[in-house]
Subunit: 138 residues, 2 copies
């Protein structure tokens, strides 16, 4: 059995062939984003060492940062107990923002008891400057 | 508009009425588990202060730790940029294990390049001792 077969056999893909993946900053342990991946994106992730997802909205492989420069270098891949969720531990390259809004993390809002407010996660870039030419922002 | 309406209106539930939620240890930032929640489970979470999920396998509300004692006290709730994923930041009570296998985190396996192996996440209890009477372990 090849390594790739062993890798994939332990992952429970849903009926769309997808599995959720949580990207975690390897230096800070901050949760950066949650997205989906599939067999092809996982193969690309392993071969390139760069976090690759499946974009449900665009229906294609999505190497995070291929347009913005904010590539996520893979340092580890974790699998949960029932095999239906992954973690990519990553080192963010470039400006180091995971979110298309320019925030370091997509989780930049929290519930303050009466409304969803900004939780202070820093804004690292202006998305209007970075995504001038493409819709490759999520 | 009530606070609860404001809370729920910003969350994009999927076609099953569910939204994925990542439980993160508030002290260590470790990702403990990923599960799903719905409107009712979120209302219970806010009113009780204890992380509550929707168990897809059992088809009912699931207050984490109601059988094992490993309740997760909520310290913060985060929402991502497109509103379709939540984070519960929690303080694990009791023995402090999130996983039904007894591990602190459900993400106790990692890919070592040729196989999925234990990543050293500690085993905090023996699941055969804790879940004697019920199937309430996931």
């Amino acid at each position: 059995m090849s390594d790739m077969t062993s890798f994939l056999n332990n992952i429970k893909f849903d009926d769309r062939g997808l599995v959720p993946v949580i990207a975690v900053d390897d230096d800070t342990d901050q949760v950066l984003m949650m997205a989906y991946t599939n067999e092809e994106a996982l193969q690309r992730t392993l071969s390139s060492g760069h976090a690759t997802y499946w974009s449900r909205s665009r229906g294609k492989l999505w190497c995070k940062g291929e347009e913005s420069g904010n590539i996520q270098k893979i340092t580890d891949i974790l699998l949960d107990c029932d095999g239906d969720t992954l973690i990519y531990r990553v080192k963010p390259m470039g400006i180091g923002a995971a979110c298309h809004t320019g925030h370091r993390s997509c989780f930049y809002r929290h519930w303050d008891g009466s409304e969803w407010t900004d939780n202070g996660d820093p804004v690292m870039f202006d998305p209007k400057e970075v995504y001038k030419f493409t819709g490759d922002n999520k």
